[in-house]
Subunit: 138 residues, 2 copies
DNA sequence: TATAATATTGCAAATTTGTCGCAATAATTG
DNA sequence: CAATTATTGCGACAAATTTGCAATATTATA
């Protein structure tokens, strides 16, 4: 099942329909990079209202379609693991460059153990690194 | 050196002094749990101005005294590793309960490898789990 | 496919969150 | 203690986010 279909079915299952604005927002996120609210509103202001962007993101987040990732002061929005390959970020504190990397080997077992220890049913996790990239490390 | 002294010396070294408001904010964070801006302003509004809370947090953050952690929708403020034991969180998606846990064994090596791979000088990292706690998992 | 019922959106207004300038107060220096 | 510098409160401002409601689009039903 492709992304589009998965989107539709996720919405449908929860009583929502895929409208043009929702489609537009989803598309805007498909580029893959985390986007700030400001970027999203600028990109989409000709297509949909600011308020609708917020409302749609709230829905998408509740349905697990998108997630917020905190990066320093601001947060950004990106597609969740269900709609893009699971990954994490390493962010440069100086220039802001963001690199995505795959789930490191060995992490899963560690997290499973933690969830078990605290009797949690683990749903998702985030791992964010910060530091200075090769250009900025001096 | 106790926390108090470490706070004073961190401030001093950077040309700041420990004032009553700064003390109050620091104390408010000592409870250990991450606090939202809203919680902090409510707690401290009789003691210090809203603007000063923001200014003080900006300073504390710049000096590495506090960090922001993203938890679901909002971010929260808590003391950094330098002023409280390094730890991570597992948060219940339903009731909001937050449990802190220590750095899991094996993580450090994994992160070092990643930083090395992308030629980053690693400064800090965050690991957040979400799921359903024992009370809410049903 | 037309109609009724429901969901979604845009728009404007309200609220909340975060920032700024500046005069008053507190802390530090000599 | 006086002078200098740092910090705060206050009010105004700006940006971000939320809300109510009427207009529009979508879905369900006949």
């Amino acid at each position: 099942m492709n992304l589009q279909d998965r989107l539709v079915s996720t919405l449908k299952q929860n009583g929502y329909s895929l409208t043009k604005p929702r489609q537009a927002l989803f598309s805007a996120l498909q580029a893959g990079k985390p986007r700030s609210m400001r970027e999203l509103t600028l990109d989409l202001e000709s297509v949909m209202d600011r308020a609708s962007i917020y409302r749609t993101i709230a829905i998408f987040e509740r349905l697990g379609i998108v997630v917020r990732v905190q990066q320093g002061w601001k947060y950004k929005i990106e597609l969740s693991d269900k709609f893009s390959p699971h990954h994490h970020h390493i962010t440069c504190l100086r220039c802001g460059k963001i690199i995505s990397f795959d789930e490191p080997a060995g992490i899963e077992k560690i997290l499973d153990d933690i969830a078990l220890q605290y009797e949690f049913v683990q749903k998702n996790h985030s791992l964010e690194l910060e530091g200075y990239c090769s250009n900025c490390k001096n």
